[in-house]
């Protein structure tokens, strides 16, 4: 039989877990890019990669303390944004999309290359850079903490607390920016950049600022996640991750401050529930669902998430927080 209590407990663990935090930060960055400024960044995972690897390499190869490694990771995100933005932001939106997705793949392939093993760990990845992060933990790292059936290991609980604090600070920053005249220029660029140029605003400069800011959120996401998992593996930073972050952003509502966070939480909650449900329903000698093989569950849960997204787009195209009146304008 299906154990609904464990289903729900796992779902809630996913709702607030490290993945939800990581994708919330990626999606907050994409929200600045796409939701507010209309920039199509399809390589957000590349920013997470340079953030995480920037920190890991700085600590392991150059012997920097962890806080300096974190700074290196953030600076790496800024540099990547500048490198991608300078040639493409004067061109049409599609060029940025092409260049970002390609750049993210190039970065992944370089870090996993065997010729880079001494530097980035190659396919083995990197470990052992974040010990001092765990030493800061007020929790007992090896112990399980139980919240009404939702259990976290102490070391994860610490990472989760830090992660949500970072998400909270990011949201405050985004909130302050988008309600300011600065945010108004960004939204105007999203609508029509020529009109904004004709009103005396330097569109290129604003797009660059947005790209850097969103990229830094991506890099910070990579740093937080690398500190949570305590290991960096190159193949984690593959293109689909960017699209999961986009899915989270669209579920929550693009161009809304809380959209990406709520979207990411729902995305991982639904993914966890469907995964656990299907695993339980297809397991055992007399499974509830006999036509799905237990091996296929991992793939089928994404099919279900896809269906759920399609239904959402049909009935609530603006996402959970979006304004319907704005979406209807596009149909005119």
């Amino acid at each position: 039989m299906i154990d609904f209590a464990s289903l729900l407990a796992n779902g809630i663990a996913a709702l607030v877990g490290p993945s939800a935090i990581f994708f919330a930060l990626l999606a907050i960055g994409l929200n600045v890019h796409f939701g507010y400024c209309g920039l199509l960044n399809f390589g957000q995972i590349g920013f997470a990669l340079v953030g995480g690897y920037g920190m890991g390499i700085a600590v392991l190869n150059f012997g920097l303390p962890l806080w300096a490694g974190v700074l290196v990771g953030i600076v790496a995100g800024v540099v990547l944004a500048l490198l991608l933005g300078i040639p493409t932001l004067r061109l049409r939106a599609d060029y940025l999309a092409i260049v970002t997705i390609a750049a993210a793949e190039i970065l992944r392939l370089i870090t996993r290359s065997t010729s880079m093993t001494d530097f980035s760990g190659g396919t083995q990845g990197l470990t052992g850079y974040g010990g001092s992060f765990r030493q800061l933990s007020p929790f007992d790292n090896g112990r399980f903490y139980d919240f009404y059936g939702v259990r976290f290991l102490g070391q994860d609980l610490w990472a989760i607390c830090v992660g949500w604090a970072v998400v909270g600070l990011s949201l405050i920053l985004v909130f302050l920016l988008v309600r300011s005249p600065w945010g108004r220029v960004l939204k105007a660029i999203r609508e029509d950049e020529d009109a904004v140029r004709a009103l005396g605003k330097n569109v290129f400069s604003y797009k660059m600022q947005a790209l850097v800011l969103g990229g830094v959120f991506g890099a910070v996401g990579g740093i937080v996640f690398a500190l949570t998992t305590q290991s960096l593996t190159p193949d984690f930073y593959s293109p689909p991750q960017t699209f999961f972050a986009y899915a989270a952003l669209i579920i929550g509502g693009a161009g809304r401050v809380f959209g990406p966070v709520i979207g990411s939480m729902i995305f991982w909650f639904v993914l966890s529930i469907t995964d656990n449900f299907l695993r339980q329903a297809t397991a055992g000698s007399n499974p509830l669902i006999s036509f799905i093989d237990n091996q296929d569950v991992g793939a089928i849960r994404f099919v279900l998430v896809g269906v759920a997204l399609a239904v959402l787009m049909a009935f609530r195209p603006q996402g959970i927080f979006g304004k319907r009146s704005e979406v209807l304008l596009d149909a005119r």
Partner: protein
């Protein structure tokens, strides 16, 4: 009412004006083999409403794009108040006081009407990244809001201030674009077809607004292809055809100008068209129609594409 000058400006292409605000010299722009703009010399008089007219494809909008930095010329220089304006980016041109609107209105649909207006205010502290976070831009924002509301009232859009700009009608968008340009306190306002796509009932009110810009001391240059619209409000008219300025002068003088009429109507213009009660052409008109039809048939037999 018309602005009179102490000296009479000769009605010829490239005429010198007593106090020009924009002076253009030998500006050219080609697209492939087509010379879209080829103007040797042109001056726009300060404080006048200058109408820039010409048939479709005459290069009016291209000239606008060049002057406002949205397009790069192949050759040419132009100055604004004596300062060189060529080779500047669009936003730099706008900041110096030459503000344009667009033929297809660019209301920022998902911003409110009021935000459209406030966006245009120049030199906002809160528009800088750091200024937005730690600066105190509240007072400046309040002042801008007041100014915006005054302008919206003047353009009869105050009731719509908190609606999304995407909900406005075509004519209201034209008004919004004009009002938005005024937020920048421009010296020269360049309006690209302000009457295009506007309900005729609103045209008169739009014309009055254009006149009011001049009465406030601004120089207005506007593009239009309808001669009738231009006649009432412009102090001076510049006629373009095939990229060149073919005539300049007071609007009433231009209607009699042979070159202008030919550019607009082709060479058959002086012939009165005659039709019988059923609407069929008769007499000279019938011959003209037969001539045109035989030309068309010949063109089709040659396999020519008529849609072009």
């Amino acid at each position: 009412m018309r602005v009179e000058l102490p000296v009479e400006v000769p009605a010829q292409p490239g005429a010198r004006k007593p106090d020009p605000v924009l002076v253009i010299d030998s500006i050219t722009r080609s697209f492939g083999g087509v010379r879209a703009v080829d103007v040797a010399h042109l001056e726009f008089q300060r404080g006048w409403i200058t109408g820039l007219i010409g048939p479709n494809g005459a290069g009016k909008t291209t000239l606008f794009n060049l002057l406002t930095g949205f397009d790069r010329p192949d050759t040419g220089r132009w100055t604004f108040d004596g300062m060189p304006l060529s080779r500047l980016a669009p936003h730099q041109v706008a900041r110096r006081g030459v503000v344009r609107t667009f033929q297809l209105t660019k209301a920022l649909a998902k911003l409110t009407v009021l935000d459209n207006m406030r966006l245009a205010a120049p030199k906002q502290t809160g528009e800088r990244f750091i200024g937005a976070l730690i600066g105190s831009w509240g007072r400046q924002e309040q002042a801008n809001t007041c100014k915006a509301m005054e302008l919206l009232t003047r353009f009869q859009l105050d009731a719509k201030a908190h609606d999304l700009a995407g909900c406005l009608s075509g004519g209201q968008r034209k008004l919004l674009e004009m009002a938005r340009a005024l937020m920048m306190d421009p010296t020269v306002v360049m309006l690209d077809e302000p009457m295009a796509g506007v309900n005729p009932a609103l045209t008169e009110s739009l014309l009055q607004h254009v006149k009011s810009l001049r009465d406030d001391g601004m120089t207005v240059v506007f593009v239009e292809h309808d001669m009738d619209v231009i006649r009432d409000i412009s102090d001076w008219v510049v006629v373009m055809a095939q990229g060149r300025v073919i005539a300049e002068g007071r609007s009433e003088a231009l209607s009699a100008n042979r070159a202008v009429v030919d550019a607009y109507l082709g060479s058959h213009h002086d012939q009165a068209l005659e039709f019988d009660a059923d609407g069929n052409p008769v007499g000279q008109t019938a011959m003209l129609v037969a001539e045109i039809e035989s030309e068309l048939e010949a063109a089709i037999e040659r396999g020519q594409d008529l849609s072009a």
